[in-house]
Assembly symmetry: C2
Homo-oligomer: 127 residues x 2
Amino acid sequence: MTPLETVQAFIRAVEAHDVDAAIALTAPSISYENVPIAPIVGHDGLRATLESFLGPAAEVDWQIGRELAVGSVVVNERLDRFRIGDGWLELPVAGFFEVDDEGKISLWRDYFDLQTYMTRFAELTGG
Amino acid sequence: MTPLETVQAFIRAVEAHDVDAAIALTAPSISYENVPIAPIVGHDGLRATLESFLGPAAEVDWQIGRELAVGSVVVNERLDRFRIGDGWLELPVAGFFEVDDEGKISLWRDYFDLQTYMTRFAELTGG
């Protein structure tokens, strides 16, 4: 797979709630960085975080808009959609990925507005 | 200039508080999109917005990290730094730009966490 295909496969695994398949596409030393929050390093932290935001979502639909790949770097603009209860949480995201020589994602860095997520999450969960 | 050079020149103009030079590098129909906020279209809105965030800043230092250019699209990761009073406001940003056939920036879309900006701005201005 090319780096672009690896990132696309990773996102499809996330959409399918298949955390094992997603993690299999990442390096053990992956740095997973939600920019407004602290970075997470390694598979255990990645698994815990994926499970925490996939858990409440009955459906996950991450729509990829623009995507660019240059060498080992992949960038995408996404609308990350989560169905929670009766509604959808929609989060615009800019994602930066690095894919290592073994074809594994070694960096995943997402830029987004945390309050957009928090406010809508509270609306949908009555929190 | 290449699209990448155009974007670099634009950022240097912003750092120099030279709003006229910055605007001269953009298309009249530019869409300027701070993702957590409503998009702004056209030179008048761009000027007003640039002046509003450059005004309080004694120094502006936008550090470009990763940058990619594919065709007419330029993407960068930045640390946008503003000196306000005695301190620096530092905002991580992912920027997406399109440069049109006349070499003018027709899209500028920044992804960032609005609360990061607001909280630090309030700290620095005592607001």
